[in-house]
Symmetry: C2
Subunit: 131 residues, 2 copies
Amino acid sequence: MTSPPTIPVLDLGGLLLVSIQGELPDEAAVDLQNDVTAAVADTGSRGLIIDISSLDMVDSFLARVLAEVAASSRLLAARTVLVGMRPAVAITLVELGLTLPGMDTARTVTEAAASFGVTIERKDRPERGAT
Amino acid sequence: MTSPPTIPVLDLGGLLLVSIQGELPDEAAVDLQNDVTAAVADTGSRGLIIDISSLDMVDSFLARVLAEVAASSRLLAARTVLVGMRPAVAITLVELGLTLPGMDTARTVTEAAASFGVTIERKDRPERGAT
């Protein structure tokens, strides 16, 4: 049985979506970099969306990992957008002088996808459970 | 500083997307159930998409947690769709007699979203880095 990537990388209309979960131990951060870069290369995706909404802390190590993911993705012709940053994380990053160069930010996955021309749209129609 | 949910729950055009990452320790499974059910209630979402593409094993405990998440979501009027199941996981579940009642499945997030009438669509336009 082949081992799946540790970090789930989802396809979203040709974009890649990665959701970082909980505190990331150092090996997991390396996995993140490998898995995500491989996924960008394999899919030829133009865009990578990284969700950090579950993090209440981003230290300098993780900030560097994110910057390296974005840099290698850019070399593979994909742009990286960070979503879901909590205000406290933004403040800490600025205090640490970590401004995450090479990455754009967006408030939500939907907005990030829109910046790549991928729309996520609800078409109203009757649905089980809806009123 | 308030603690964020352990499990990131993303909004996708009004749907909720949860990506399960790596092996889930028992406490994390309880967090999953609490966080996801709270998110369904808070957002009034009609749909919950759970991605398990990073799992190479689903044991009976996790299968029960998933079934309970789906059951409580249904009580809150949301339907649950499971995506990204690996073939080996499907085989194991069937062998264990765990057929995940109360849940639909889809191959991809895009297909799962479509089953709720939410389209994820790429509109072609020139993009930095694209040829």
